[in-house]
């Protein structure tokens, strides 16, 4: 086990229904790092996020994931959240009848209780909420509405980041946070995410398009295909992908399946960039 | 319950002897007669008949209309430019009927002919969709019908012309009954538009007791329009029952007539995954008319989608009711069912009763209904009159706006025009009798 890793994933395998989706993921995220995971549709990006968060419908078939030295996969989803894992969903669900404020106060206090921190009463929580809402330019009036009900796509994504700001996680996973957003919404959401970057916090940003990474600059970029990470590199890798697309991953994925290593390093050491002159 | 009158049972026996047909048909008629004998006519105490019961029907001795039908077309039978069958007092009038074009994929025949020449074509469907064991009027029809229409859209058929079935029933010296019968079969992937127009004429006592069965196959689409015209003295019963197959779709637009007694039962069973249906109906009553419309949508399998949109406008001292049932069976996940019923009451003495009913036994569903009953919006009325429109003109405009969606979704053309014209005519009658409101 890597002592300074925040998150260590080793040979993680998982299936959804009858299909094997993750075929051996290795990843180390250290505090302060932002890792981007990119890949074609069906590559397993979202599944990876769901497995880490403990979403029903996916079964782990092998490997391990350690968060802050603890066995993540052995914990119930709410325990993972209380231990500091936050997943910003690609499709945030609506909960009619439950006010956002009420929901978040209960969640925030559950996390605080777990950490042995004092709980917040209604007044203090409201103050915290308003302060954090400003970070993502979220209208505080939305707090009185039912969770995500009637929210536009942009509002839903901002609400996810807002919740992240309240719950103060150590590892934040953003699952295609940019999907369905126009440039303005993208800018606001990214501003919020960047405001929450910190030395003690790690982030995994999952995206299909390079565009988001113009706003949220990653330290490391990984490419996932066929349920494995097939390439890792520096921020330039994302730009290279934008130009060259994902078609090459089919070959690469096959090569990996046959036990041949891809170019570049896998589960990159932070900041590791590919050798100059070659395809990144 | 009012016991089945002896004369009616005798008529059923006589019909069984007269209308000989294949064994299965005789069995059907016998079962129907037995059902009617057991059920009788529903009285006020019976579930589903409390708002408008059939005791008045039982009091009048309706006998089958005489076998000689008139050869003339009464005024008012429209021509939609497609195949047409015209029935007068239960008999086909060949001179007024038009066959379908050769390449349309349609078969449009009189049931009597089909039962005589190729009964196998309908054996598996005729009488098997409308369940008579709990429906006395449908049972009576099954026992007594003499002729009717078969419409069959062949696999992949997509005719551009509508099929028109016209039924004329005339009053005579003594009370008489006709039993129009329709069977529509839509084979895989077909699309068709079937229009039924019912014309009850004359001032004597007439009972028109109609049954329509529709079997909609895989990925088939049937659009069904039903327009009834009858004097205020008529007695009307209509039963429309559809079974929708996988990815099939049934859409109906109905304009039933209000009369001394008028009862419409529409039922669609979404019997296979991804089946859908939309039922639209406009109920308009005036004078002393009565009309009770019942609709049931049965979601038996997952992924079904249904919409019910019923509107009512009541003037004079008319009474109308709408009983709309959505049933979602266990396992019918991802059902999407919406029902809306709205009524406008124009005058004192008019009554509208809405009885939405949801019976839900699956949880992964989206089901909602909304009902409202009221009067024309006073602010809107004022707005129109302040722009110079007269009060009665303003009321008419608002009513048309209210009732307008009854035709929505119907393709533009002669059928839609006929539907809208008939609706307008009725709204005018209701308005002229409804006091200022």
């Amino acid at each position: 086990m890597n002592p300074d890793a925040l998150l260590e994933v080793k040979n993680l395998r998982a299936r959804a229904g009858a299909a094997d989706i993750l075929k051996g993921i290795d990843l180390i995220v250290r505090p302060g790092e932002v890792h981007a995971i990119m890949g074609p549709n069906g590559s397993g990006k979202s599944t990876f996020a769901h497995v880490l968060a403990g979403r029903p419908g996916v079964t782990v078939t092998g490997g391990e994931a350690i968060l802050s030295g603890k066995d993540l996969l052995a914990m119930k989803p709410e325990t993972r959240a209380r231990e500091g894992l936050f997943l910003a969903l690609q499709y945030p669900v609506e909960i009619p009848g439950l006010s956002t404020l009420h929901f978040l106060k209960a969640a925030a206090n559950a996390v605080r209780r777990h950490r042995g921190e004092p709980e917040l009463d209604a007044v203090d929580f409201l103050a915290l909420a308003k302060e954090r809402a400003a970070i993502v330019e979220l209208d505080p009036a939305l707090l009185d509405r039912s969770v995500n009900e009637g929210f536009s796509g942009g509002e839903k994504k901002r609400n996810e980041i807002f919740q992240m700001a309240i719950l103060d996680p150590v590892l934040a996973i953003l699952d295609e946070t940019d999907s369905g957003l126009d440039i303005d919404a993208l800018r606001i959401v990214s501003k919020g995410v960047n405001a929450l970057r910190g030395n003690s916090r790690g982030m995994i940003v999952i995206t299909h398009y390079q565009r988001l990474l113009d706003y949220i600059a990653p330290d490391v970029v990984h490419v996932i295909a066929g349920g494995r990470i097939v390439k890792s590199g520096g921020p330039d890798l994302a730009k290279w992908l934008e130009v060259n697309g994902y078609a090459w991953t089919e070959k690469e994925g096959a090569a990996v399946a046959q036990g041949q290593g891809p170019e570049g390093t896998r589960g990159a050491a932070p900041g590791a960039a590919p050798p100059k002159g070659e395809a990144p | 319950m009012i016991d089945a009158p002896g004369y009616a049972l005798a008529d059923c026996e006589a019909a069984a002897r007269t209308h000989r047909g294949p064994g299965w048909l005789s069995r059907l008629r016998r079962e129907a007669t037995d059902a009617f004998a057991r059920l009788g006519f529903p009285g006020r105490a019976e579930e589903g008949w409390r708002f408008l019961d059939a005791s008045a029907v039982a009091l009048v001795g309706f006998r089958p209309a005489p076998a000689r039908g008139s050869r003339e077309a009464p005024a008012g039978i429209p021509d939609f430019g497609g195949p047409r069958l015209v029935f007068s007092d239960g008999r086909l009038v060949p001179g007024l009927s038009t066959p379908p074009p050769a390449d349309s994929g349609l078969r449009v025949d009189s049931l009597r002919d089909v039962l005589a020449r190729s009964p196998g074509a309908v054996e598996s469907v005729l009488g098997r969709i409308a369940d008579v064991s709990a429906k006395p009027f449908a049972a009576l029809n099954a026992a007594l019908f003499s002729d009717g229409a078969l419409v069959r859209a062949g696999k992949g058929a997509s005719p551009i012309v509508p099929v028109h079935l016209a039924f004329v029933s005339r009053a005579g010296a003594s009370p008489r009954a006709t039993h129009p019968r329709v069977l529509v079969v839509a084979d895989e992937g077909s699309r068709c538009l079937v229009v039924e127009t019912h014309h009850v004429l004359g001032e004597g006592s007439v009972l028109e007791n109609a049954v329509t069965e529709l079997a909609i196959g895989r990925s088939a689409r049937v659009s069904h329009v039903r327009i009834s015209r009858a004097p205020a003295s008529a007695f009307l019963a209509a039963c429309v029952q559809a079974i929708v197959g996988p990815d099939g779709r049934y859409e109906s637009w109905s304009l039933p007539a209000a009369a001394a007694f008028s009862r419409e039962d529409a039922e669609a069973r979404l019997a296979a995954p991804a089946a859908s249906c939309e039922l639209r109906c406009l109920l308009v009553g005036t004078g002393e008319e009565r009309l009770d419309a019942h609709a049931t949508i049965d979601h038996a399998t997952p992924g079904g989608r249904s919409r019910q949109d019923y509107k009512a406008v009541l003037g004079g001292r008319a009474r109308a009711g709408f009983d709309g049932r959505i049933v979602v069976r266990p396992g019918a996940d991802r059902t999407d069912a919406l029902q809306s019923s709205r009524g406008i009451i124009l005058s004192e003495g008019a009554i509208f009763q809405a009885r939405p009913r949801l019976e839900i036994r699956a949880d992964d569903v989206r089901c909602a209904h909304g009902a409202s009953i009221g009067r024309l919006d006073e602010n809107a009325l004022f707005y129109l009159t302040s722009r110079g429109i007269g009060a009665s003109g303003a009321r008419r405009l608002l009513l048309e706006a209210f009732a307008g969606s009854a035709a929505s979704g119907l393709a533009e053309g002669s059928v839609r025009e006929a539907f809208e014209a008939a609706a307008r005519e009725r709204l005018d009658a209701a308005l002229s009798e409804g006091g200022p409101s």
Binding site: P77, E78, A108 | R357, L358, G374, R375
Partner: protein
């Protein structure tokens, strides 16, 4: 069949906290009902002749009636001759004049129920009329109420002390021949509460009644009569519990409310009936006729209720809106789980001009529970300007329960405006996961969502009742997280 997602699973029978039996000498009749039993009841209570005759005429009407049946509720027929119609704890000596004289066993029962009978309950501002089986045992704080002219006592006592008042209003809202169970109740009612608020008086405290069914196979037949004279105000709370028994027990109460001009009555109920075990054995049959009449102009009656449990529930708190501008309200949360069946709803009858009614009904079904809402909004021909808004929502937990709504809107006046909406929703796996991912346990998630669902109704309850209601809901959904 789909498994219900984690978070509520099957609503198992949580340890039913109030399931215990008090071992007290009961002075009971043998089973069965005939005219002799009716006479004996009346005689035992020392009733005047007019009341005996009223009971007898109700009994005779009852013998000619048949129990009602409904399409959606299934239960074994009740054998009315297999029930004891009168049971009371034997007082030691004369009637107790203060708490110190009440059978200590009985008082211990109330303590376990959490009924505040002690003197310090005065600070809580609750006057309690505790009905132990068929006879009221103690009534407190009567002096304080008496000082403002409020009468709040047991029904039996009201017959003795205020016969004119009782006679004027008894049966004026629910006549004995109104329905089968009302007729039965009118014949054999044991006791209940009587309350009269004089003109212009705002009752200084919330009035409340606790009662329970104890002795085996004793039907419970309370009669409650609550009258608010012109301009008066009263808030009344009703809460019930029952012990665990194997046989179904019958409960057929009648509640009559009369609000004169400008008066307001708020009637709140939090009911926690033993729901029957997982197989549906041993619950309570609860057939109640509750009706209020807004007699005078601008009178107002509000029904608010939270119900869980009860094997078979049949009750339709109703309001007759006679007075011009009068208002009727109905707010309800009903939870059915295991094999419970509920057939509940309300009737709002608009008779006078410019009357208004609001209905908010929330049904929660789980396990194999079947929850049916049956409402009637009727606007009679002279009810000009009537306004109604109704909303009934169903929340389904799991795929084996059912929610059914049958509202009927019957409008006979052209200037009325009646609107109704109904929705069905569920708590899905993805919603539970979303809450989990934010640090909430599945049980907390279900509780939060259910409370959000019921919020509008809880707001209508007096504060301490609302708290109890939320706890009750939590208990009902307890043990549902796998």
């Amino acid at each position: 069949m789909k498994q219900a997602p984690e978070g509520f699973g099957d609503l198992e029978n949580p340890q039913y906290r109030w399931g215990f039996v008090t071992d007290v000498d009961a002075d009971a009749f043998p089973k069965g009902l005939d005219e002799k039993v009716v006479r004996r009841i009346s005689e035992k209570k020392g009733e005047p002749l007019w009341l005996l005759e009223w009971r007898l005429s109700a009994y005779r009407a009852w013998t000619a009636m048949k129990p009602p049946t409904w399409a959606n509720v299934r239960f074994a027929p009740v054998d009315f001759q297999d029930i004891v119609y009168y049971s009371a704890p034997k007082p030691k000596g004369a009637r107790p004049k203060s708490l110190g004289e009440v059978d200590p066993e009985v008082l211990r029962t109330y303590e376990r129920l959490g009924v505040p009978l002690e003197e310090r309950a005065a600070l809580a501002g609750v006057a309690v009329d505790a009905v132990f089986d068929s006879v009221s045992v103690a009534t407190t704080f009567r002096e304080r109420l008496a000082s403002v002219g409020v009468i709040f006592c047991s029904f039996s006592e009201a017959v003795r002390e205020h016969p004119d008042l009782v006679r004027r209003y008894l049966g004026s809202v629910v006549p004995p021949h109104d329905n089968f169970y009302a007729a039965l109740n009118s014949a054999v009612f044991s006791d209940g509460s009587f309350c009269y608020i004089p003109k212009g008086v705002r009752c200084p405290m919330e009035l409340s009644t606790y009662f329970r069914i104890n002795a085996a196979q004793t039907g419970q037949f309370e009669r409650t009569l609550l009258v608010a004279d012109e301009g008066a105000f009263v808030s009344y709370l009703e809460g019930c519990t029952a012990p665990i028994r194997d046989e179904h027990q019958l409960h057929a109460a009648v509640v009559e409310l009369v609000a004169e001009g400008g008066a307001e009555i708020r009637y709140s109920t939090v009911q926690n009936w033993y729901p029957g075990d997982k197989e549906g054995r041993g619950g309570i049959y609860n057939f109640v006729t509750k009706r209020g009449i807004c007699r005078g102009a601008r009178a107002k009656i509000s029904w608010a209720q939270v119900e869980t449990g009860s094997a078979i529930t049949w009750k339709y708190p109703s309001v007759i809106l006679q007075g011009e501008g009068s208002i009727g309200e109905f707010h309800s949360v009903a939870v059915t789980a295991n094999r419970q069946q509920a057939d509940t709803g309300t009737k709002m009858i608009h008779v006078g001009r410019d009357t208004k009614s609001t209905i908010v009904s929330k049904g929660i079904s789980a396990g194999f529970g079947q929850n049916t809402y049956r409402g009637l909004v009727k606007v009679l021909p002279h009810a000009a300007g009537a306004r109604n808004f109704s909303r009934c929502d169903s929340l389904l937990l799991g795929s084996r329960c059912g929610a059914h709504t049958f509202p009927t809107l019957d409008v006979q006046n052209p200037s009325a405006q009646v609107e109704h909406e109904a929705t069905t929703s569920r708590i899905g796996e993805d919603q539970i996961f979303y809450c989990n991912q934010r640090g909430l346990s599945s049980e907390d998630a279900v509780n939060l969502i259910v409370n959000g669902f019921c919020r509008e109704v809880f707001r209508k309850l007096p504060m301490e009742f609302a708290v109890e209601a939320q706890k009750l809901l939590g208990v009902s959904l307890e043990g549902s997280v796998g």
